[in-house]
């Protein structure tokens, strides 16, 4: 299956779902800063990779998939749970990119400008995460796994 960007999903998302993500994101960023202030950067830095938004995102994915199936007259509960599980499987691959983002930032930041460091680190994250996803997809196809 090809990767697709569905604008319909952006339109279908309700304003309160966007608000939930905004508030979660804001709170996590705020708390990560407060933890660093209280316990130092070695502990605070851990929370830059805290999956706080994951439960909200996964439950929204489950809700959307369930509603889609229910509109077609099906139960949709199992499909919703599996879609959330697939999201988590994708996040596992994304974590490789996340660690590479952190390592690039750690090594580059003391010697290079902030804008350059964050640009390269973001490109490293995207490049590695997308490459790893396609490599896994190809390996699964070769082995007839899904």
């Amino acid at each position: 299956m090809l990767v697709k960007f569905e604008f319909g999903s952006v339109r279908d998302t309700q304003w309160n779902e966007y608000a939930t993500r905004f508030v979660f994101g804001g709170v996590v960023t705020l708390v990560a800063g407060l933890i660093a202030d209280r316990f130092g950067p070695a502990i605070g830095g851990l929370f830059l990779a805290f999956p706080a938004l994951f439960p909200a995102s996964a439950s929204l994915i489950q809700k959307h998939q369930r509603e889609k199936k229910q509109r077609a007259g099906l139960d949709g509960a199992k499909r919703g749970r599996l879609a959330a599980g697939l999201d988590a499987a994708g996040a596992m691959i994304g974590c490789i990119g996340l660690a590479a983002f952190a390592a690039t930032t750690w090594k580059m930041l003391p010697r290079h400008p902030l804008w350059l460091t964050l640009t390269i680190a973001t490109l490293v994250w995207a490049g590695l995460a997308v490459s790893a996803w396609f490599a896994r997809k190809r390996a699964c196809s070769n082995l007839n796994l899904h």
Partner: protein, 110 residues
């Protein structure tokens, strides 16, 4: 004022990545965005401005361990949701306790 800026910047960056992720198909590819460095992108710039590059670099070094704990968290959640008939929100929320334990454990060990 600093806290308000942090909240607004964090909320905006995280919602942007979440919005992009929710519109992508297939869902396993969209999941890559669940592990996007959104909080880090929002925080590191503000930290560099306030506390300098050395402080932010120490945070970034620790973030590697946080990402390793996230990988184990995602693996655990994925396996539970595929194999057990557990509800999504409680499963993913309770597993955050495992992330905290793993991340702090790794920090103490390394």
């Amino acid at each position: 004022m600093d806290l308000i800026v942090r909240f607004l910047v964090g909320g905006s960056v995280v919602s942007f990545f979440a919005m992009v992720g929710s519109a992508l198909k297939p869902k396993s590819f969209a999941g890559l965005f669940a592990a996007a460095p959104s909080v880090a992108l929002a925080t590191i710039s503000l930290t560099v401005l306030k506390k300098g590059t050395q402080y932010a670099a120490i945070e970034a070094e620790s973030m590697i361990l946080g990402a390793a704990a996230f990988l184990i968290y995602a693996c655990l959640v994925s396996r539970v949701l595929f194999r057990k008939n557990f509800p999504v929100l409680p499963t993913t929320t309770i597993a955050l306790v495992a992330w905290i334990g793993l991340a702090l454990g790794l920090r103490l060990l390394i």
